[in-house]
């Protein structure tokens, strides 16, 4: 008897699977060709990387661009979605297509992890302009936005080398991927070119496909504490919101400096308590690129292809808020000039 019921159960289950596999019902996506041409006001869709708006760093830099567009370009309709740490490309693609399908144009993916998903989404929605930050996606309707983070990190390295007393400098990376190694490479070179005696110790919070290192302030704090304990007195973190933890740890020890990343973290309201420990921030003006893209779509000639936002174009740089690096401005300006005119070639990979 029991055997029969079990077999029936197994049979029913496979039947259910088979039935649902026929995918009856309507798709949530309308016919791709019809969408994306909505008249009226501009509708901007943005899909953030893990951490989302409020990470005080990378995502917030993109969010600032959206806020500027609201003011400057009269954008009223904005839909903001955020990645989860356990996302797969299918999830990311869903997110982008939800936006495109609902008539949002442009659709912006913040972070390289949207690259594969956007390649597929851009093909499905040829009339929608897509934008990707930190990666290159093929397609006539995609604006690939890249930054020369190694150049701003070089300048951060110069500042760190001039400010360190112990000649020990720390670098905290979110995830050990080539993009973040670019920050480290520039920073290393900036330090060694300025002060050959100073030594940079690097630590990464997570590895490979585990992206949690970009959104874990506790891990950032722990790593920074370890570095402080072993005598490092300037710590640069390129780790999304994990960097906030590092800044907090640095603020707990007098005479030490934190270097922020992506946004001007001195200006960040939530970090106001620690702002006197933030030496400078290596700016990555994602806001400018986001604003440029929205403005180009509004103007009727969307940006496409690869746009490189370099030091020369003001896409990256150092922040002077707080005035802590005003005394070394001449050295920094000299380094900036050399990078811009090509006398200094900043490396993009860690040797």
């Amino acid at each position: 008897m029991r055997r029969v019921t079990k077999i029936t159960a197994a049979g029913i289950a496979s039947a259910v699977l088979a039935l649902s596999a026929t995918a009856c019902g309507s798709s949530s996506q309308s016919d791709a060709s019809s969408s994306g041409s909505s008249s009226g006001g501009l509708k901007v869709g943005i899909a953030y990387d893990v951490g989302g708006r409020g990470d005080h760093s990378f995502n917030d830099s993109a969010a600032a661009g959206i806020d500027k567009a609201k003011k400057g370009l009269g954008v009223t309709q904005v839909k903001e979605l955020t990645a989860k740490t356990a996302d797969t490309d299918a999830d990311r693609e869903t997110r982008l297509e939800q936006l495109a399908d609902a008539g949002y144009n442009p659709v912006i993916g913040v972070g390289y992890s949207y690259a594969t998903a956007m390649t597929a989404a851009a093909k499905k929605y040829p009339n929608v302009t897509f934008g990707i930050v930190d990666s290159v996606v093929p397609g006539k309707n995609v604006d690939s936005i890249q930054f020369t983070e190694e150049q701003s990190s070089y300048l951060a390295g110069v500042a760190a080398a001039l400010k360190t007393k112990t000649n020990k400098i720390g670098f905290i990376g979110g995830v050990d991927i080539p993009l973040i190694k670019k920050f480290q490479a520039g920073f290393d070179q900036g330090v060694t070119d300025t002060n050959p005696k100073a030594k940079v110790t690097a630590q990464y919070l997570s590895h490979g496909s585990d992206l949690s290192g970009f959104a874990d302030p506790a891990k950032g704090k722990e790593a920074a504490q370890g570095m402080l304990d072993s005598g490092n007195d300037v710590i640069y973190s390129a780790a999304g919101s994990s960097g906030n933890g590092a800044i907090e740890a640095v603020a707990g020890k007098t005479g030490t400096w934190a270097i922020g990343v992506d946004s001007d973290q001195y200006q960040d309201a939530s970090l106001a308590k620690y702002k006197n420990s933030i030496l400078t921030s290596a700016l990555k003006n994602v806001d400018v690129s986001v604003y440029d893209l929205i403005s180009s779509v509004k103007g009727g000639t969307p940006l496409t292809g690869t746009q490189t936002y370099s030091l020369a174009k003001g896409g990256v740089g150092l922040s002077y808020s707080g005035g802590f690096i005003d005394d070394i401005k001449t050295q920094l300006d000299a380094a900036t000039k050399k990078i811009v005119n090509g006398d200094i070639k900043v490396k993009t990979t860690v040797s």
Binding site: T82, T94, V136
Partner: protein
Amino acid sequence: MKKIDKERLLLAIAAPVLAIVVSFVVTALVLVATGKQPFDAFNIMFQYGIKSDSQVYILDKATTYYIAGLAVAIGFRMNLFNIGVDGQYRMGAFFAAAVGGAVTLPSFLQIPLIILVAMLVGGMWAGIAGVLKTTRGVSEVIATIMLNAIATSVIGYLLQPGRLGHLDAAQTQVSTEPLPASGHLFNFNMGELNGDVYGFIVIAVLLGVAYWFVLNRTRFGFDLRAVGQSESAAEASGVSVKRMVITSMLISGAMAGLIGMPTLLNDAHQFGTEFPAGVGFVGISVALLGRNNPVGVALAALLWAFLERTSTQLEFENYDKEIVGVMQGVIVLSVVIAYEVVRRYGIKRQQQKVGEELAAQAKNKQEVTA
């Protein structure tokens, strides 16, 4: 005979249903507390979840979660808590992808080779915990969770350009060498807008059948369940507990190695950002909810995939997407509690029934003697 079966079935179903109902109530309360309409949210989830492209997504995700659930369930049936499924799955998928990307064979050799490597690596990784447990008495909970962290580091070390890593054109993402076309498994195409249902779903169903057969219809399965229920009794009846621990860890790990296969063979064709950590932990939830039963685990996996699919839509409709996380957490908690409640209720009922029967017998006897 038939009646008892019915009651047992009812009790078995009661617990998960109770858990799901409780979690919906709690989620509704959370929604109300945040000033949102709970029924609107559930309606959005349902409407979006039954769309055809959602169905495809749910089946694909559930395939992965189903295998994860089975891998965990094998350990559970023996009272082994294999928390390391997560590490075993990533190790298996990573090495399978590396080997698959390095050689080019005809399909009928290439795909089995990739699957075999995944099973071997997953099994060996779990086997370490098995050996530690039998030879040194190290709790498999500790050993496997540590091995997860080691797996992360091993993959992090090897997945670098110049080792087993391969940089994409934009120089931002590292993955293993892509599989040659002969390493791609067939998909069921559901139309342009809906995407593909992974062909691996067929293998997943077969795995479920094999799991049921081995556990319920073989000597090995009997031994395994016997050890799970009472180690000393099993030992006394001639089962080598040590051997069973190692074998079941190996099988659980080999199954865990397969978790990444649907994604690898049907979709990504390389190991990169497509293999998030945490799938093994979903497996624990799914196995708990499905009561280690092959059909139950399948339903639980489908539910989990449904919840994940609909969370994005909730966010799109301006709800907090964390709501789904709350719901999943509450389901797991209430499942554990509900099982215990239902189990105690079952025992009580059984005792009552036995008591009644004995009383009736005694009464009969009295009547006869009177």
